[in-house]
């Protein structure tokens, strides 16, 4: 089995198992009917809710609507490419057992998107994407874990999809440039032609 085949096999296996687990949870009787979660990708309802989450947590002022949508598309692609329990690098001079990464976060995150949707419907009779932004923020605050760590985790370890999205975005080169106001382009294979010039301000 090739490297790529193995990754897809592991991902699919993990998704099926977690999908079965999710199917055993009965939704509340007064909840609006929800579509069956897709095993491979976020279905349209989940994507609609995720888009609304993105508009709340991502820096919309800096990215603009198109930028937010692009980041969300990239995030979904990243999630699709996730290999559950992947072998992680062993650190220099650490003799510990080999570490493996987290399981596929998609099932948990999908259920969290459903929970946002359910709360919006129950409290406000409307979908999460349709309620006002302050209400979306309130619902999100209520559903995020009580612990409020300062550091962003690795996205795959995020305990909530909103934190996963933030963690994903803020590791990108684009975010690093925005945070420093300059075209740093981290992790770009920049070659040897660039000298010691100060990185140019964004938009220059």
């Amino acid at each position: 089995m090739s490297y790529e085949d193995r990754r897809l096999f592991l991902k699919k296996s993990a998704t099926i198992v977690s999908g079965l687990a999710a199917a055993s949870c009965t939704p509340p009787r007064d909840a609006a009917p929800l579509e069956t979660p897709s095993l491979d990708n976020l279905d349209s309802l989940h994507r609609t809710t995720l888009d609304a989450v993105g508009r709340v947590v991502l820096p919309k002022g800096a990215l603009g609507d198109e930028g937010v949508t692009r980041v969300l598309d990239d995030f979904v692609k990243w999630l699709d490419g996730f290999e559950p329990v992947a072998e992680l690098p062993h650190h220099y001079l650490w003799n510990d057992e080999i570490a493996y990464g987290p399981p596929d976060p998609a099932p948990l995150w999908r259920s969290q998107l459903e929970a946002l949707e359910l709360e919006a419907q129950k409290r406000h009779g409307s979908s999460f994407g349709a309620v006002d932004v302050p209400l979306q923020e309130t619902i999100l605050h209520r559903q995020l874990p009580r612990e409020k760590p300062q550091d962003l985790p690795y996205a795959g370890d995020a305990p909530h999809v909103a934190i996963g999205l933030l963690a994903y975005f803020y590791r990108t080169s684009e975010a690093n440039d925005l945070g420093h106001g300059a075209a740093i382009e981290k992790q770009t294979c920049r070659g040897l032609d660039t000298g010691p010039d100060e990185p140019k301000p964004l938009g220059s």
Binding site: G61, Y170, H180, I184, P196
Partner: protein, 531 residues
């Protein structure tokens, strides 16, 4: 019935020391050379861009399978076990030790002298730099002596390092670029560095890794390489102290032992596994293990500790331009203070305390543009990381031993490594760490800024020893060339043979020592005739 493989030279291990020895012996001798490596071949240059991308996106190990399940000890060692060794992942940092490292006893009255001087190792340092392709520009001659230029010009300097050098040198301490084994021009058929800033997985092959040497030697038919083959024992010839053969296990057919028979055996498995194999190789004549008549095998394992500090500097920096690059000073390795203290000094760009965060200082959760606004405010000034490695002189009891309570999947006891400072280092530790804190403070006072945090890292970095070299068979395992005092046809090369770890990254020194051993070994083998 064991399968037997015959050769003139068997090299056990396939890391950077083995690569140096194999390359040199194939150039200078007609010897048939066999290399035996317990780990896998990972010849994956064409996959490295993809693996780098997944490493960045998902943290996945870009060198999957570079270890053996259950083959790990207790103490400071790496899990890396593959053709290329730990140098598959290395950062490519290649400073030399300083001349004083070789003569601390003579100069300062502490520790142990090496059996040769820096000047004697200088040509082998140069040779190692040429084989690896080291790019650099030397520091002031008084602080950074070398007889010839670096083989490759330095990589371009980043804005961040220019500013940090100006900042650091306000203290009066000179800094220069840390040399690296990364191609600044195309070299030895390998690509030029494109400064991808993920040196643990160099996607272009511009950073030297030993797999390139082995692939070339295999292609040219100059070596035979047996990977996934774990050597478990060195057996003596009947009625003699010479090594007759190495007993190995094919990990794919563990019930069918292989005997590697040769005239000469070179142990090049790093400080942990070289020492471990000698201790495992017990016999009636050598009940404490091969090469261990003196009882010195496993003793004097050595490394250096470090102090790290993060400093808010009064300037804007741009973390992510090329964080792998750093500045170096050897000023405090060359001085002769009243009380012994020696350390290097390095400076890097850093993003510590300058990363985006989920909550503000009041613990309020941040969303949307507030995350970015908070981050922008905090990146108005930059952060520098400084680190000093200081030498730790090992006690004899700083040792690698066999742990009978922990065995690998094939029943062999695993290594246990317990570092111990000598009385000199134990007594000097507080003074040393206070002195380094004083240097950090001096730099911050002169350049401006604020210290954010300082910590001592107790990890003994760049470890070596366990098969210490020396002229006296009573206090060492191998002679100054790396030849066993007890077995004429057994050599140990690289990290295990060092006397002390100095104050700098060790890989270049391990490579230079291996070349020095290979030069002596080549004289015992039939010379290569002109093709």
């Amino acid at each position: 019935m064991a399968k037997t493989i015959e050769s003139d030279v068997v090299i056990i291990g396939a890391g950077i020391s083995a690569a140096m020895v194999a390359e040199k012996l194939t150039e200078e001798t007609a010897a048939k050379i066999v290399i035996v490596e317990a780990g896998d071949k990972i010849f994956n240059l064409e996959e490295r861009f993809d693996r780098r991308a997944r490493f960045l996106a998902y943290r996945e190990n870009p060198w999957r399978g570079d270890h053996i399940r259950g083959q790990t000890g207790t103490g400071i060692q790496s899990r890396s076990m593959a053709v290329g060794g730990l140098a598959l992942h290395w950062g490519g940092t290649t400073p030399r030790y300083s001349p004083e490292d070789f003569q601390v006893r003579s100069i300062y009255g502490v520790g142990y002298d090496w059996p040769f001087t820096y000047d004697e190792l200088d040509p082998f340092y140069q040779e190692a730099e040429e084989r690896l392709g080291v790019a650099g520009s030397p520091g002031p001659a008084a602080l950074d002596p070398r007889s010839k230029d670096y083989p490759l010009p330095p990589l371009p300097v980043s804005y961040n390092l220019v500013k940090l050098q100006e900042w650091g040198e306000k203290s009066g301490i000179p800094f220069w670029r840390n040399p690296v084994a990364k191609n600044s021009v195309p070299y030895q058929g390998r690509n030029v560095c494109t400064r991808c800033d993920t040196c643990s997985i160099c996607p272009t092959g511009a950073k030297y890794t030993p797999d390139f040497t082995f692939q070339r030697l295999l292609k040219e038919g100059r070596i035979e390489l047996y990977d996934r083959t774990l050597v478990r024992q060195l057996e003596l010839a009947e009625g003699s102290d010479a090594i007759d053969h190495a007993v190995a296990l094919d990990r794919d057919a563990p019930d069918e032992p292989i005997h590697f028979r040769a005239n000469t055996f070179v142990l090049a498995s790093g400080y942990c596994w070289s020492t471990h194999l000698l201790l495992l190789s017990r016999s009636d004549r050598f009940p404490n293990g091969v090469a261990n008549r003196s009882g010195m095998v496993g003793k004097f394992v050595t490394g250096h500790r470090s102090l790290n500090t993060y400093v808010e500097v009064p300037m804007k920096l741009y973390p992510g331009v090329y964080r792998s690059d750093s500045l170096l000073s050897k000023k405090f390795q060359r001085e002769r203070p009243d009380r012994y203290v020696r350390h290097d000094l390095r400076i890097w760009e850093s993003d510590v305390s300058r990363r985006p965060r989920l909550t503000d200082d009041e613990g309020k959760r941040l969303f949307g543009d507030a995350v970015l606004d908070d981050w922008k405010k905090r990146t108005a000034t930059g952060v520098a990381r400084m680190r000093a490695y200081y030498d730790v002189i090992p006690a004899k009891e700083s040792a690698l031993t066999l742990d009978s309570n922990r065995k690998n999947p094939w029943g062999d006891p695993l290594p246990r490594i317990d570092f111990a400072d000598s009385e000199w280092s134990a007594e000097l530790r507080q003074h040393t760490e206070d002195s380094i804190r004083g240097v950090f403070d001096h730099i911050v006072r002169a350049g401006g800024g604020k210290t954010l945090s300082t910590r001592v890292d107790s990890l003994q970095d760049h470890p070596g020893g366990g098969c210490r070299m020396g002229a006296d068979p009573a206090t060492s395992v191998v002679d100054p060339e790396g030849r066993s005092h007890n077995h004429e046809n057994l050599w140990v090369v690289g990290a295990p043979t060092i006397v002390s770890s100095g104050c700098n990254n060790g890989t270049l020194t391990f490579a230079a020592l291996s070349l020095r051993s290979a030069t002596a070994l080549a004289k015992t083998l039939p010379a290569r005739t002109t093709d």
